[in-house]
Symmetry: C2
Subunit: 193 residues, 2 copies
DNA sequence: GTTGACAAACTAGCAATGCTAGAATAAATG
DNA sequence: CATTTATTCTAGCATTGCTAGTTTGTCAAC
């Protein structure tokens, strides 16, 4: 009987619509506007229905964030061109990372700022959460002995650049200079800026 | 007549008590527990009184954050010992910065994550907001052509390390190795880790 | 077909939040 | 003492996340 299959399919579809609505509203009006009531309105069901899909609001943010990690990983991988030198690749990945952060501030917020209930560095950690790290590790590897630690540090630098600029604490006009600095630092040359 | 002086003095004192209470509660129970009602309870006045001191809750967070910037600046300056080499100074400041972030997570959150209404890079920017940057610039200067940009990048790296570790996305056990990496990067040597 | 069990969805409401209008009180002024 | 002005409070609004309890729909057993 395909009835129960249809039902779970429809149910999954409804879950998807919740996540899509959350993302859409967040990107247009900010996460503060993503309320359970508004999401319920959007999917045309009552509020308690949302709690049969997600334990709480944070889990909805987490579902959006998970999408974001997948997309970021794809973008970072696409930024690595085989024809580039190792140094250029570092710069390209760094630029792609920051472009992502500034083009999708709400998504970046979900991924790195808001509580999401996502579990990192665990056995049940979803693949999306590891892939972005993997892409960064790929371009860092040629310059590092301890690739994991070096990638963590590279990632931290990018995250810090994104956050400080997003909060208006460093000068937007000097973004590319800062990326150059990071690239030169990673590739072990003295800053010539 | 010293009466009005006494009144403004008492009023300022009450304002101070609000900020102290906010900080105390935040450090003990987190910022979510810092509610207007709880603060009103703490200072033994009704809620509307708080709004004669601060426009809204964010401004209270901002007042605590401002204290934090002052203290961070002091700590960073104290970390610079005249007897150290330039490279050691970079490492010492980096370590002091991260120690601050992890020892006072609520304070760090107020300074860098929560909305505060604080204005950076403006003519009316309070001195506290500039001093921490100044301390970092001091130790970066020997290694940089463009000191401001290099300091921004250094700061971003530290901020990213603090945030990613605070959120459990990088391994706490490798903190000192990451600091070493940053120090070596700033001082322009190849990573030997 | 009717009935009864089960699942799905809804209505209504709780407790908490930031914030504010308007009343009450205290203090200063004539 | 009367009046105006400044303080402070009471009470309440609108919004939030979340949930208890009820209604509605579905489907199998008789």
């Amino acid at each position: 009987m395909g009835i129960s299959e249809r039902k779970t399919r429809e149910r999954d579809e409804r879950g998807r619509r919740i996540v899509v609505a959350a993302r859409t509203i967040a990107e247009r009006d900010g996460w503060a506007s993503v309320t359970i009531r508004r999401l319920a309105d959007e999917i045309e069901y009552s509020q308690p229905v949302l709690y049969s899909h997600f334990q709480n609001r944070d889990e909805i943010v987490g579902a959006v964030a998970l999408e974001g990690f997948g997309e970021l990983a794809t973008i970072l991988r696409a930024a690595i061109r085989p024809s580039s030198t190792p140094g250029e690749s570092v710069e390209d990945v760094a630029t792609a990372y920051l472009d992502f952060a500034f083009a999708r501030p709400a998504m970046y917020e979900a991924m790195f700022i808001l509580p999401t209930g996502l579990r990192f560095a665990r056995s049940d950690t979803p693949a999306q959460l590891r892939e972005g790290f993997g892409a960064m590790a790929t371009v860092i590897a040629p310059f590092a002995q301890d690739v994991d630690t070096a990638t963590e540090t590279f990632w931290a630098a990018l995250h810090g650049l994104a956050e400080l600029e997003r909060h208006g604490r460093i000068r937007p006009a000097f973004r590319s200079q800062r990326i150059t600095l990071i690239m030169q630092m990673v590739s072990g040359q003295l800053s010539q800026l």
